[in-house]
């Protein structure tokens, strides 16, 4: 493994774990499965996602 691969691997992992890549996945999904239909802006998408969290509290353990 080269240093570049390690860095891009770490970057991939952090983006996935933190949910930062969710929007990119959403855009890809809309383009692939619903071509021609409107795609939410990042701002709207993230707001929707945050508000969805409101209704599903996740407990943290001890």
């Amino acid at each position: 493994m080269t240093a570049r691969q390690v860095i891009s691997g770490v970057r991939w992992y952090l983006r996935e774990v933190s949910g930062e890549s969710a929007y990119d996945r959403y855009v890809a999904h809309r383009r692939r499965d619903h071509p021609g239909e409107p795609v939410m802006s990042r701002r709207d998408f993230e707001r929707r996602r945050q508000d969805a969290r409101e209704a599903r509290p996740q407990s943290r353990c001890c």
Partner: protein, 698 residues
């Protein structure tokens, strides 16, 4: 060399390393051993357990099927159900199960020496804790991610279901109270700690605003800024402590209780994005980062264990940190890290809805729990590398030590350990704290151990910084648990009340939100207040109750697993969860029995109550109470705690009896019984089972 031969050589070597390490830990008595032996013993045992036992459970017992679609694949909706890369899901799952529990429990259990606790952390996780997490995850996954409570209701009956719900709510309340108590004890009269923790609120609010308005979705960037501000807040704390602002941030325990209660209520009512979500990011990054730092620190400095392997308190049961003998109280005190019922809630929450492949339950369920156990081993090391005299001066309740360095030194000498008043003074000065006497709760002790380890790498000049870094790190994620737990409890109350009073069904109905939040905050706030003001010491009274409640929840989870194994026609494998269940029930019931019926006032709540009540009747004040109000407080607390201990024991018995009825009916039935398992659908996804493995079975 063929793969098979190589595998045999490698695993033989791992087994040898483990055996030698265990031998050193268990047999060497006359000299101090290096902490490295504990690390070797733990890692070798985990590796063997993961490779052989967990694999056996996954394929032979559970019958995980790589060709069967998981709920994430079948029900994908981009909201709850979403096939998630196993390594990412492992991160989420670990972040959700790891908290302050595995850090605090081992520190308290160190009063019996490092050996009993370490054995239980490692053996317990392999045969009980990790098995529970993995099996619950598997069964929930086979039922579209049903919660533990739902599974108890569906598979055992309404009785079991109600008992499970009550168990979950009561453990939540006790858990939040005990964790909040740890924070209060760590921050009381410490302007440095209080300032740094107070600063996390504006930092989190700023991050929330930044993520919502300025840079939507840029979580990493926001967290980076947050962590930098946090480190700055810790460093600034040292400046504040020496400035005129010090008085503002010097709060006594009672004031801190009210701050925490107010904070808990506000955090539960505010929108998630404003406070809870950013705080969660911050504490997750801090948590993972600090755990990694601690592991590196231990491996680099290889500290020596100062604590005894087994202290006399293991058999006498008269230790000052918590009362009771090794059995059952070590197993109650070290709950998280070995077997934690709370994890069953996570394993039947979001994780089963996101898992890509059935064959990943070993990696995620069993693997994440092994990592949690490793955190507990490190906490045991951190608590055991400090001078035992200092350990007992810090962890004995204020009523016993008298609060000053002289009286604490005398008390510790009386216990059979030794520390000079000057040594206590200089230990406090080294971390720039007013005093270390009776800083109970585990967090300050752990912070001392961690600052010892970290300053072994960076030099003694940073000792005070590392101490407050460790306090901050613990307080931060305890507060995150308090936020999240209060909110979860609020939803449970809204949900339950919604069955009776309609408007409560709408979870955003404001009066409902306020009422339910107030109920849950009031409940844990009551126990927190009682703990802080208890002359006998809050931690030594409440921690056993927390342990019993957590093990009670584990009993519910293991009961559900055992019933399900039998219902699925796997009676011959029922011992996999049945044996840990029997052990857990024995531990929890013995502990409850002693807490309720022991005639020793140090151990039994009701004996304690009688002793103080009789003194009140005679008009006497018994030490450590200072006046009649204290005396009445002890009587009330002991009564409430005693009733709770009895109540928990009755709950366990009810659930196990109800489950036994179902099991007997199933075994006698000639036809296969119905379960709520979702029928098989072929999977189209390809995904590996383990961390490095390629697709398919290995």
């Amino acid at each position: 060399m063929s793969t098979k031969a190589r595998s045999i050589v490698v695993w033989t070597a791992v087994a040898l390393v483990g055996a030698v390490a265990w031998g050193v830990i268990a047999l060497i008595r006359d000299e101090q051993i290096s902490a490295a032996w504990l690390i070797f013993a733990a890692v070798a045992s985990y590796a063997i357990a993961y490779r052989f036992y967990a694999r056996f459970i996954q394929y032979r017992v559970l019958g995980a099927d790589p060709d069967r679609a998981t709920p994430a694949e079948r029900l994908q909706n981009d909201v709850d159900f979403q096939p998630t890369d196993r390594r990412v899901l492992f991160g989420h799952h670990f972040a959700a199960i790891a908290g302050a529990g595995p850090l605090v429990g081992p520190v308290l259990a160190a009063q019996m020496g490092y050996l009993p606790g370490t054995i239980w952390i490692i053996v317990g996780v392999i045969f009980a804790g990790a098995v529970q997490d993995m099996v619950v995850l598997f069964f929930s996954m086979r039922r579209d991610g049903k919660s533990l409570g739902q599974m108890a209701r569906d598979e055992i009956g309404p009785f079991g279901g109600i008992a499970a719900l009550v168990a979950v709510l009561s453990i939540m309340v006790i858990l939040l109270a005990v964790l909040a108590l740890v924070v209060v004890n760590a921050l009381a009269d410490s302007p440095w700690g209080t300032f740094s923790i107070a600063m996390t609120i504006p930092i989190a609010l700023f991050m929330g605003f930044y993520l919502r308005v300025l840079r939507p979705g840029r979580v990493l960037e926001t967290s980076g800024i947050g962590v930098a501000l946090l480190i700055l807040a810790i460093a600034l704390g040292g400046v504040v402590q020496d400035s005129s602002l010090a008085d503002t941030f010097t709060l006594d325990a009672e004031t801190l209780v009210f701050c925490l209660i107010a904070y808990g209520f506000i955090a539960s009512v505010l929108p998630v994005w404003m406070l809870l979500a950013p705080r969660d990011y911050l504490s997750t990054f801090m948590k993972i980062g600090t755990i990694v730092l601690l592991a590196v620190g231990i491996i680099v400095t290889l500290p020596v264990m100062e604590n005894e392997a087994v202290t006399k308190f293991a058999s006498s049961g008269e230790g000052p940190v918590f009362a009771g003998a090794l059995f059952p109280f070590v197993f109650i005190t070290i709950a998280c890290g070995a077997l934690s019922g709370f994890h069953a809630l996570i394993a039947s929450g979001t994780t089963p809805k996101m898992i890509e492949k059935e064959t990943q339950v070993r990696f995620i369920g069993y693997g994440a729990m092994l990592m949690e156990s490793f955190v507990a081993v490190m906490a045991m090391i951190a608590a055991s590398i400090i001078d035992p005299g200092l350990y007992f001066a810090m962890n004995s309740p204020g009523g016993a030590t008298g609060g000053t360095v002289q009286s604490a030194s005398e008390f510790v000498n009386g216990l059979g350990f030794a520390i000079a008043p000057e040594a206590l003074q200089s230990a406090a000065q080294a971390v720039e704290e007013e005093t270390l006497v009776s800083r109970t709760g585990g967090a300050p002790t752990l912070a001392i151990g961690m600052s010892e380890i970290f300053s072994g790498v960076t030099g003694d000049g940073l000792k005070a910084f590392w101490y407050h870094f460790a306090i901050m790190f613990e307080a931060l994620f305890i507060l995150t648990t308090v936020d999240a737990g209060t909110r979860v409890g609020r939803f449970m109350i809204q949900d339950t009340l919604g069955n009776v009073i309609k408007p409560f069904r709408d979870v955003s109905w404001k009066p409902g939100v306020w009422f339910a939040s107030a109920v849950i905050v009031g409940a844990w706030g009551y126990f927190l207040w009682a703990g802080v003001t208890n002359p006998l010491g809050g931690i030594n009274q409440l921690f056993p109750l927390f342990g019993i409640a957590n093990q009670l929840l584990a009993a519910v989870a293991l009961t559900v697993c055992t019933v399900l194994l039998i219902k699925h026609g796997k009676l011959k494998w029922a011992w996999v969860t049945g044996v840990p269940l029997a052990w857990d029930a024995a531990v929890t019931l013995t502990a409850s029995w002693q807490k309720v019926f022991s005639s020793d006032p140090i151990l039994g709540f009701f004996a304690q109550r009688d002793r103080f009540q009789e003194a009140i009747d005679r008009g006497e004040v018994l030490a450590p109470a200072k006046d009649m109000d204290d005396m009445h407080a002890v009587v009330t607390n002991s009564t409430v705690d005693g009733i709770l201990a009895a109540f928990f024991a009755i709950l366990i018995i009810v659930i196990i009896l109800d489950a036994a009825r179902v099991c007997i009916r199933t075994i006698r039935s000639s036809e296969p019984v119905e379960t709520t398992e979702v029928p098989k659908v072929e999977s189209r996804l390809q995904a590996p089972a383990g961390l490095f493995e390629t697709a398919g079975r290995t």
